[in-house]
Point group: C2
Chain length 381, copies 2
C-alpha cells in the first residue's frame, strides 16, 4: 500500500427537501452575501430556483445572480463571474446545478480572491492558496464535483479543457436531494453512469498498487451504478435508485477509491477532454467512446486487474470478455461506443491526439501517451 493523505472536509446533506435549509446553513456559517450560480434556466422552470431564493430570503442572505453556465463550462463566463464577485462584496459562492455549475463555482471562488489570471491555476503557473467558500445544491449526479476540490474549465480561445484540484475548493456543504434529479433525461442518465464508471476505473486500472479493499470499493460502486441505472431507465422516479446512484457518484471521485493505490492517472479523461474541447459532446458520451478503445489498448499492461474486473463486475473469465461486457452495457443504455456513433469524424483523430498530448504533458503522462499511441487508441474507437 502506498503512503497517502486523505482529507475530505465536505459536509453532505442528503435527502428530500434539504435545499430548503440552504439559507439557514449559510447563516449558521456567518455568510452574508452569496454569488448564486446556475445553468441555463431549468431550475426556474421546475421551481428549485424559487425555493432556494425563498430559503435565502428567510435567512436574510443577500444574493447576486450569475446564470447561464453551459455544459463544458467556459472560462469567459468564469471571468465575468469573478468580476461580478469582486465588485459586490460576495463572501461565498453558491452553485445550484450539475458538475459544470459547481466546477465554475470553484474557479470563481479561487479567482475572486486574487489579482492573477484564474487560468494560471489551470496551466500550473500558479497554485490555489485561498478561495471563497463554495456551497452547492446538486441537480445532476455524475461529476462528484459536490464532494471534491476539482474543477474542469474550457478555455474557448485556446481550445483547452483543463483542470485544477485543491482541498481549498472542496464545497463546504453540498446538498444532495435525489428528487431534484428525477427529471434528468435518459441520455444524460446514461452519460452520467459512464462518467461515474470512468472515475472509478481510471485509478483502478492504472494504479501502481491495488489493495484489495480499494478494488472492492470500486467494484461495489460500479455494480451499484449498473443496478440503479437499469432501474432508473425503466422507472425514472424511483427514489431509492436515484439516491444510491447519487451517493455512489460522490464516492467515485472524492479521494476514497484512490487512497493507498499510488494514485494512478486519468488517460480516458485526458483523451475525452481533448475530444470535447474540439467537439462539443457531453463528457459522458465522449468517455463512452474512449473507454472501451483505451481498455483494449491498455489491458496487457495490467492483465490481472482486467481479469479481476471481468470476474467481479460481470462474472466473466477473461479481460477481453470484461471489456466487451462493459462496452455492450454502455451500448445498452444508449451511450455512444464508437467515434461513428458519437458523430466524430475519423479524420479528426490526429487533431484530437495532438490536443490530448498537449494536455498529457501538463499531467505528466506524455511518456506513455504520445501522439502516436493516442492515435492508436482512438483507432480502436
Amino acid at each position: 500500500m502506498n503512503d497517502f493523505s486523505y482529507y475530505n472536509p465536505t459536509r453532505i446533506e442528503f435527502g428530500r427537501d434539504k435545499e430548503n435549509t440552504i439559507g439557514e446553513l449559510l447563516a449558521h456559517d456567518g455568510i452574508k452575501r452569496v454569488l448564486l450560480v446556475y445553468g441555463t434556466g431549468s431550475i426556474k422552470k421546475n421551481g428549485l430556483y424559487q425555493r432556494v431564493i425563498a430559503s435565502l430570503k428567510k435567512a436574510g442572505i443577500e444574493y447576486v445572480e450569475f446564470g447561464g453556465i453551459v455544459s463544458n463550462p467556459l472560462l469567459s463566463a468564469v471571468y465575468d463571474a469573478i468580476t461580478l464577485t469582486k465588485s459586490n462584496s460576495i463572501d461565498a459562492v453558491l452553485g445550484v446545478g450539475g458538475g459544470s455549475v459547481i466546477d465554475s463555482c470553484k474557479a470563481i471562488a479561487a479567482g475572486a480572491v486574487v489579482e492573477t489570471d484564474v487560468w494560471d491555476f489551470f496551466i500550473n503557473k500558479a497554485v490555489v492558496e485561498k478561495a471563497l467558500p463554495v456551497y452547492t445544491i446538486v441537480t445532476l449526479a455524475a461529476a462528484a464535483s459536490e464532494m471534491n476540490g476539482n474543477s474542469v474549465i474550457t478555455n474557448e480561445v485556446t481550445q483547452q479543457k483543463y483542470s485544477i484540484g485543491s482541498v481549498l475548493l472542496n464545497p463546504k456543504i453540498s446538498i444532495v436531494n435525489p428528487e431534484l434529479m428525477m427529471s434528468v433525461t435518459k441520455d444524460y442518465l446514461a452519460y452520467s453512469a459512464v462518467d461515474i464508471i470512468a472515475h472509478s476505473i481510471e485509478v483502478y486500472f492504472t494504479a501502481t498498487d491495488h489493495p484489495h479493499f480499494q478494488s472492492r470499493l470500486v467494484e461495489s460502486i460500479i455494480k451499484s451504478v449498473i443496478e440503479t441505472t437499469e432501474i432508473l431507465m425503466k422507472d425514472p422516479t424511483n427514489y431509492d435508485a436515484r439516491a444510491e446512484f447519487a451517493w455512489v457518484s460522490s464516492q467515485a471521485l472524492n479521494g476514497l477509491t484512490s487512497s493507498g493505490t499510488g494514485g494512478g492517472n486519468f488517460p480516458n479523461h485526458m483523451i475525452e477532454h481533448a475530444l470535447s474541447a474540439l467537439f462539443n459532446i457531453a463528457h459522458g458520451a465522449g468517455l463512452a467512446i474512449v473507454i472501451p478503445a483505451w481498455m483494449k489498448w491498455y489491458k496487457d499492461k495490467n492483465l490481472l486487474q482486467f481479469e479481476r474486473f471481468a470476474k467481479e463486475v460481470f462474472g466473466k473469465e477473461t479481460a477481453d470478455e470484461g471489456i466487451t461486457a462493459l462496452q455492450q452495457w454502455f451500448d445498452s443504455i444508449g451511450a455512444p461506443v464508437s467515434l461513428i456513433k458519437g458523430n466524430i469524424p475519423r479524420e479528426a483523430i490526429p487533431d484530437i491526439a495532438q490536443n490530448a498530448n498537449t494536455l498529457g504533458k501538463l499531467w505528466g503522462m506524455e511518456n506513455v501517451y504520445t501522439v502516436k499511441s493516442i492515435e492508436d487508441i482512438l483507432k480502436n474507437a
Copy 2:
C-alpha cells in the same frame, strides 16, 4: 434510502515514518503547547515516544505529558488530565496510542474547555459545544477512534462504560503508520479483527434500510479484515496486510457505512460495554462472546440480510451457516466465543443484563432489549 448528514473532517496521514511529521503539522496549525497522552509505556520501549518528542522539539512545540492510560480507559484519569490541561495553557491534545488513549484525549478535549463535569456529556446531561483540537498517532487499528468523534470511558465508581459522539471531537489529523502496529500481539490482533467486524455489522443488521452499496461496503470491509488477519497471524510484519487492516478499521466506523441506512443501533456494543464494565476483559474479546449469541437471537428479525451476509462474506446459503462460519472464524483466530472461554461465570448473566439494560435506556433501546431479552442473548453465549 434514509436522509443523512455525512461530515468527516479528519485528515488521515497514512504511511511509513509519518509520525516524524507531527511537530511540523501542529506548528502549521498554530499549536504551541500540547498535552501528550499515552498508555502504559510501550511507546517508550519501542522508540516511538522518543521520535515524537524529537519532532515536537524540532518544531518548537511545548508539551506536558500524561501517561498511564489503561484499556477500558477510566474517568478518574480523564479528570486528572483535565485538571493538568486547565492549569498549563494547553491548546491541543495529542494522543499516541490505541483507541483507549484516543478516546481519553477526546474526553479531555471536551472537558478542558468547560466548567461542568465531563461525565455530564456521557449521561446526556450536557452537550459538547466546543473542544480543544485533538491530534493522534495510532498504534492499534481497531476502534476507528482516529477517524470519528466517539469516545467510550468507564466510570469506575458507578461501573458504567458510556460513550459520547460529536464531530467537534473528530481528530483534526490522525497519523496512521502501519509499521507502528507490527508489534501488536496475536491476541490483540484477533480482538481488533472482532472489533472492526462488530463496528461493521451492528448497523448492517439493525438498520431500517439496506442500500446495496452500503451493504457491499460492509462486506468489503469484513472480507478485507478476514484476509489480512489471516496473513498477519502467520506474518506479523507484512506491511501491506497491516496497512489494509488499519485502513479498513478506520472505514468501519467513520460514518460512511451507516450513511443512508437510518443508522441502526449497537446492541452488541451495549451488551459488551456492560460486560467489560463488570469484568475487565478486552473489548474485542467481549464482542467475540456477544456477537454470535446476539446473531442467533436476532436473525429472524432481518433474515434476508443474514442470508445476504452468509452468501457474500462466506459463500454460504443460510443465515445459520453464516453465523456458524463467523463464530468458527472468531474461534480460529483465538477470540473467545463463549462466556466459558472468556472466563465469565454464567452466574453473572443477570448482573450483566441489568447493567446492559441501564445503558440501553440511555441509548433508547430498552423496548427491544429488556433485562429478559438480554439474558436470553447471553444464555446463547
